[in-house]
């Protein structure tokens, strides 16, 4: 996890809020560093994490996780991390007939169905184990990323339904957290993606939006991060808070600074 980002979000692994949906969004840049942040954050907070990783392999997250101080292999071995590797599963599903239903079995079907098997998988992974003593603090669902589901033939409504079911189970019933990543296609006019993004923006409590700089590529400032706190359930009297910072990604951390205050400029 990035300590500077924790300071900006005013949170630590021990004092994180529960029952929240965080939306990660990236436009014209790569926002995957946020996914790595939250993965290591919740693993350090001793939460039970279910990670639906659709876009990269396990070793990718594992190697970056080691740089950030968590070991995904050990977390998986002791049962703290349930990892669904989308790429490997896709190869298994498409080339071999599966005997049991697989969470991603919609890949074999010609018509876009729904994500019910995936939801069942998540619910099974995060359900509290009756072992007497509470081993993990609260469950967390992490999805990287939802836009891939649209590329694989799912409709935006099906994905929104899936998120809704997960929210009801993970956030409300189990008092856990959810973090999902969606790409913002910007001017590519991806209608399905826009529906998904707008729908999720209205439901989430915290939106982190990584944008490329409007002026183009810069070696010292990699992008801009917009943080938006929302209170969806409360009346609109309370204004949503929004902050904007610029950031530079380094090998093991990310440094944030106010706009125009990059150390390279000053």
């Amino acid at each position: 996890m990035f300590v500077e980002l924790n300071n900006l979000l005013n949170t630590t692994p021990d004092t994180a809020e529960q029952g929240k949906l965080t939306l990660l969004c990236d436009a014209k840049t790569d926002g995957s560093f946020l996914v790595h942040h939250f993965l290591s954050f919740y693993l350090k907070a001793n939460c039970k994490v279910c990670f639906v990783a659709l876009i990269q392999s396990f070793s990718h997250y594992s190697i970056v996780g080691q740089k950030l101080g968590v070991s995904l292999t050990m977390a998986r071995e002791r049962g703290q991390l349930v990892f669904l590797e989308g790429l490997k599963s896709a190869v298994d599903i498409v080339f071999q007939a599966q005997k049991e239903p697989h969470p991603l079995q919609f890949l074999r079907e010609a018509n876009a169905g729904n994500l019910k098997p995936l939801f069942e998988f998540v619910r099974e992974a995060l359900k509290p184990v009756d072992s007497g003593e509470a081993q993990w603090t609260y469950p967390v669902l992490l999805v990287d990323d939802l836009s891939v589901l649209l590329s694989l033939g799912m409709g935006a409504v099906a994905v929104l339904d899936f998120i809704h079911y997960c929210r009801a189970t993970v956030c409300w019933e189990l008092k856990g957290n959810m973090v999902v990543l969606v790409h913002d296609s910007g001017d590519a006019e991806d209608e399905e993606n826009d529906i998904l993004l707008n729908g999720l923006s209205h439901q989430s409590h915290l939106i982190l939006r990584a944008e490329g700089l409007a002026t183009g590529f810069c070696r010292d400032v990699h992008g801009q991060l917009r943080i938006l706190w929302r209170r969806p359930s409360q009346p609109t009297v309370h204004r949503d808070q929004s902050f904007t910072y610029q950031y530079k990604i380094q090998d093991k951390s990310v440094s944030f600074f106010a706009k125009g205050m990059s150390p390279a400029v000053l």
Binding site: I63, K88, G153
Partner: protein, 386 residues
């Protein structure tokens, strides 16, 4: 052989680091060996495959794209297990060149090739590969290779004319060059012996689609399904993913797919804006990514993105590919007659570079790049003018 020894020594220095990494899980350095996590290799994996080198940044195994200038812009080369997507130029003149450079590099390095096309017979594509430019140093390596391959009888024969033993041989035997990245002469063809010595598999869509083998139902177009099965078959049969217990492959599979997404593949994304198969291509790319990530292979795809009607698909395709390079030729555009661009044939845009096993990526500082095809060489230069 001297060629392999030099390659081995490069890997040996990182091998000791791997030894420490395997003992403790805390170190952040991890030698990127074969991506097949299904293998039972528990010890340090010294990867000494010809034509590959570890990345300077994170030890990732890289292969050359066939153009040393492009390798430099991509941070050293194409990472094993990733896809290089070339967005074709408007009249498809320069993208086949990059495609052939990639395959030629595989032939010279001794990699296995898999060439898939719906338009041209893969055998014809291989006949048109450019000839490698081999300088004297490399010729000496050839001679050593050829020497070691020579049978004792022919050595005896050469004793009669011993003075001629020292001269470079005229015939070129099977090449196993350990250099990373070669230059090619676009005006000459690759020698027939090199092509015949290479191990290659061809997928020509009109031939494969006529067979009546039962295809598993999937929502991909039949052409894509057949191609995926073909690729998966080769990877499994020849052991590139380490799962086949009989075959443990220590070589790279170079996959080249030409004009993916064009109507010749049975896909209609270039014809209609909201066709029935709008997810076929993205699904194909997703499953291909899964295949590549779990095997020792690298893939180049050329795609006519300028023909795709639905811009959203291009964005999705970009997300599902690792490296995306766009070619923009000046032919037919107003820039052709622009005196500022008279030295160049087009612009090359590096649209995306992956962040693999890392938070950062090797993005080049220079974004204005132009290419020109000189009589022999394809060069990429910084475009100072615009």
């Amino acid at each position: 052989m001297a060629a392999v020894a030099t390659c081995g020594s490069v890997a040996a220095s990182t091998g000791s680091a791997v030894a420490t990494a395997s003992k403790s899980n805390v170190t952040s350095f991890q030698r990127r060996g074969p991506r097949a996590s299904g293998t039972n290799d528990s010890g340090p994996r010294l990867v000494s495959i010809a034509g590959t080198r570890p990345s300077v940044r994170n030890g990732q195994l890289l292969v050359s794209t066939g153009l040393p200038a492009l390798d430099q812009l991509l941070g050293g080369g194409l990472a094993v297990g990733t896809v290089l997507l070339i967005e074709e130029d408007k009249y498809n003149i320069y993208s086949p060149l990059l495609f052939k450079y990639f395959l030629a590099e595989g032939t010279v390095s001794g990699h296995t090739l898999l060439v898939a096309s719906a338009k041209e017979d893969p055998a014809n594509i291989l006949q048109e590969l450019p000839a490698p430019l081999l300088d004297d140093k490399c010729k000496k390596e050839f001679d050593e290779d050829v020497y070691d391959h020579k049978t004792p009888e022919s050595n005896i024969k050469m004793r009669i004319a011993w003075r001629y033993q020292l001269l470079p041989k005229m015939e070129i035997g099977p090449v196993s060059s350990s250099r990373f990245g070669h230059y090619y002469d676009a005006s000459k063809r690759m020698p027939q012996e090199l092509i015949e010595a290479s191990n290659w598999h061809g997928f020509f869509l009109p031939e494969k689609i006529s067979s009546t083998v039962k295809v598993e139902p999937c929502s991909l177009t039949p052409g894509y399904t057949k191609l995926l099965q073909f690729i998966q078959n080769i990877i499994y049969e020849e052991g590139f993913d380490g799962s086949n217990p009989q075959k443990k492959q220590r070589n790279i599979l170079r996959i080249g797919i030409q004009n993916l997404g064009s109507p010749l593949w049975g896909d209609d994304i270039c014809c209609a804006e909201n066709g029935g198969n709008s997810h076929s291509l993205t699904k194909f790319l997703y499953v291909l990514r899964g295949l590549l990530r779990t095997s020792l292979s690298a893939c180049i795809i050329t795609m006519p993105t300028h023909l795709i009607q639905n811009k959203a698909i291009i964005a999705r395709v970009t997300t599902l590919s690792d490296i995306v390079v766009g070619l923009e030729s000046f032919i037919g555009s107003e820039r052709e007659t622009n005196p500022l661009y008279k030295d160049y044939h087009g612009l090359i845009h590096i649209r995306q570079i992956p962040r693999l096993n890392n938070l950062i990526c090797d993005e080049s500082d220079v974004k204005d790049l132009a290419f020109k095809l000189k009589r022999k060489l394809f060069t990429i230069e910084v475009d100072f003018i615009s």
